[in-house]
Subunit: 501 residues, 2 copies
């Protein structure tokens, strides 16, 4: 078939992670190929391929011999303005046929999942097929052998790191708990004890700050694997953003659809976590499971089931996994937002008088477990070893060294605008709504404005008097404060007071 | 929360059935509400609501106080240029939680399916949730009580027609077979016998012509329910497009995702067909199941299973269903494309010497069954009654009367450009690839250009000599012929010849 080529340009439209291309409905290619709006098409530019959804343009901002690309489509294709590109029907995805097999009761094999993950990781699978796959995995849709196969498949379609040192330790926290930045404390404590801990973290997706966002206000995190290796070889530990690597790349794409679909899958959750850990070369992993009504794990029983799955699948992959259920009913520390959380971390490292004790305590417990799992501390002595390393300043020194190795320690930015929210009555703090708190911090500008967010002045159980500060909002503009305050006025209270009788 | 309003205008972008709205990422509403690209938003214009996907615009074709709507979004909202609209987070869809219940093994109830179909029919359910629902229904995901409940739910969220006459007959054909336009023959034969048959048909979705497209070259089909009722009261029968009604409206939306998802579901298929039939007031339905390697029903065994489901679910809804498995291995008639198929129909009605006998024979068999099911012909005599009515011209007269009642009989258009494809060798026609044939007809312009398509000159089993015409392509421009010929040159042959030994 002869192909008519089109001139490519940017559309100036952000379609998030869904690549979209724009073509005139009356252009020769649409007519020749019978491309209807919302069809999937393949764009080829000098050997590079892009799969995208087609939208038809009928107005004059696009010429008949042009194709415009949305932001993600432009980046994915790596096009240059004016390139001549070819557009055609995408090849039939054979891997998608495995979904049909699973529908008809045939368990997924490694080969089927490998083919699927390969296509997923290359962006070849449409959202509706991803949704179908996730639905088939939802609940107990995957048994243990299928979960092991899925985890292996996710690892095998991406990059894999190996380390000369052993054991290589890791930690992970499942489900959001605002302010729970223990990673930035556990890594330097453990590394200061000479234990290897190359930590990759994610940026915020729906929260006010991810671990990578918080670390980024203190040091560069956008390192590639070679740079990460240099840091770890020098300092035993690092805290970098994992999104710059191709470590379990299918996982990020699945998460994009899993989140709005809101169907929990044990198998997918386990594969998501363990594939990242195994691919980055970790050998022993401690997993923090905050249990609470607004976290991913709602009950001790659910934590027990999930824990069993993680340990079993981990063992099949040669990963030693230990889980620890923690209190997920209240925010950790005081700050919510990248810089404000970073300040909590620095206060703990610097043993400042007002440093948040809950964050310090959680970090010591987790670091203690990691030191024991690594064989560095005898059983039952990990926490005290961790405390010693924190209290004598070795953890702080190690953290600064890691930051320097990653590109240089930075001073967290401070917001130019703040607003103090006070109690309208005296009483006792009954609860803090972690979801609404995160939302308010986001409306104030976090994590886009790293200095924006909220600082809590009270914790559940505290006694407050009328006009006493409950929290302070931070923003880079009056508009950010305005959005957050407007939101808080129309919602259930972020800080719920039980008034005096 | 205070809302900032935006001026609405058309984007001039066709996003098919997926409503999309375009807003500047730096506009006040996006900042205040935290709207990210690809988020679902609700647009409110003077009490009318629209749910749409948000795309962020960063270039200057859109102002910061404007919101632009894709074609389907514009039509759905019924907006007027410059209206001030409100944009907000859509209400949480409670119905979607039923998907989670089904994942965890709880069968769908009528109430759950009713809530889902209500949201589906109003366009409130995102594609990924539709894909999840379809996956849960796929294969044998729905048992008989769930299929009955789904069918009822689909009926109950739409309009429902009742008729004074009884019995009200209907026919349906499952799965595409190019040229199989028996409806245009069965309706006039049956109506000529005084039996009521108010037929609604669909337009082509992936084929070269739907029944409604073919009928439209002979008479208007775009009738509302009141107009349809007037035609049926006068002539006992009609053949109109069902898309102008709200008869089982959720079905069309599900089909849009089902098709690319390509997961068969017995329950969904049965509910799709029977909900339309019951809602339009039909009481007894004959269902044609063409069985062949390229049709929806691949084997006699599959036809048997599907047939049983249709009859059982139909009975639970008070519908008498009969199925008939027919030969689906070859195209029916000669023409492929609206006008070319209409000419075949007219040739049969007019008893022209060259009229396609296979189309005639299929129509007589089906009409005979309908007449027997209606109690008009004693068992075993339906086919001969049908033949009599066709042969003495009553069917033709009735067809003309129906066309006149629908708005006037039309002469099918003829294409201005044709190209004859000839045999390159002598031999025997082994097979005709119905999928490639439909694709070639579409590239020639069908169904957009009603006169475009293909006419077959041979049938499987025919002996052909070198240079003998195999088929003729019809198009309204040389371009259409060019596209179709180019396609045929690069594919497996549409007409497969077994060369002489």
């Amino acid at each position: 078939m002869t192909f008519v080529r089109l001139h490519v340009r940017r559309a100036g439209i952000d379609t998030y992670q869904q690549p979209v291309v724009y073509m005139r409905s009356d252009c020769h290619v649409c007519r020749a190929e019978g491309f209807e709006a919302q069809a999937q098409v393949e764009v080829i530019d000098d050997g590079r391929h892009l799969l995208a959804i087609l939208h038809h343009v009928s107005s004059d901002w696009l010429a008949r011999d042009e194709i415009a690309l949305s932001d993600i489509a432009w980046t994915t294709l790596g096009a240059t303005d004016g390139d001549l590109v070819e557009v055609r029907h995408p090849p039939v995805l054979e891997s998608v046929a495995h979904l049909r097999g699973k529908v008809h009761g045939r368990p997924f094999t490694y080969e089927a999942l490998r083919a699927l993950m390969d296509d997923v990781s290359h962006g070849r699978v449409a959202d509706i097929h991803l949704a179908s796959l996730i639905t088939l995995c939802a609940g107990d849709g995957l048994d243990v052998p299928e979960t092991v196969a899925l985890t292996r498949a996710m690892i095998d379609v991406g990059e894999r790191v190996t380390w000369d040192e052993t054991p290589v330790m890791d930690k992970h926290c499942i489900g959001g708990l605002p302010g729970n930045r223990t990673t930035l404390l556990v890594v330097p404590i453990v590394a200061a004890c000479g234990v290897t801990m190359p930590k990759t973290s994610s940026r915020a997706i729906t929260s006010a700050a991810g671990t990578a966002d918080t670390m980024e206000v203190l040091a560069p995190v956008d390192l590639d694997l070679a740079a990460m290796r240099r840091v770890v070889e020098r300092e035993h530990g690092c805290i970098v953003w994992g999104g710059n690597t191709r470590i379990s790349p299918a996982d990020d794409i699945l998460i994009r659809v899993e989140r709005p679909l809101s169907l929990d899958s044990h198998g997918l959750l386990i594969a998501s976590i363990l594939s990242k850990k195994a691919a980055v070369g970790s050998q022993r992993v401690l997993i923090d499971l905050p249990v609470g009504p607004q976290t991913k794990v709602r009950s001790a029983a659910a934590a027990e089931v999930l824990s069993k799955g993680l340990v079993t699948v981990g063992a099949a992959l040669g990963l030693q996994v230990r889980t620890v259920a923690t209190d997920g009913t209240r925010p950790v520390g005081r700050g919510i937002g990248p810089a404000l959380e970073a300040m909590d971390v620095m206060a703990v490292l610097e043993r400042a008088p007002g440093a948040p004790q809950d964050l310090r305590e959680r970090a010591l417990v987790l670091a203690g477990w990691v030191l024991e799992m690594a064989g560095r501390a005898p059983d039952g002595t990990g926490r005290s070893m961790a405390r010693e390393v924190l209290d004598d300043g070795r953890a702080l020194a190690k953290f600064i060294a890691i930051c320097e190795a990653q590109g240089g320690l930075r001073v967290p930015p401070r917001a130019s605008h703040t607003h103090v929210v006070v109690a309208h009555a005296s009483g006792t703090v009954a609860a803090i709504d972690t979801r609404l708190l995160a939302r308010a911090a986001k409306l104030a500008g976090a994590p886009r404005d790293p200095s924006a967010g909220a600082v809590l002045h009270v914790q559940p159980g505290d006694r407050v008097e009328v006009a006493q500060p409950l929290l302070t909002l931070h923003a880079v503009s009056p508009g950010g404060l305005h959005y957050a305050l407007n939101f808080m006025r129309t919602q259930l209270p972020v800080v719920r007071l039980e008034a005096d009788a």
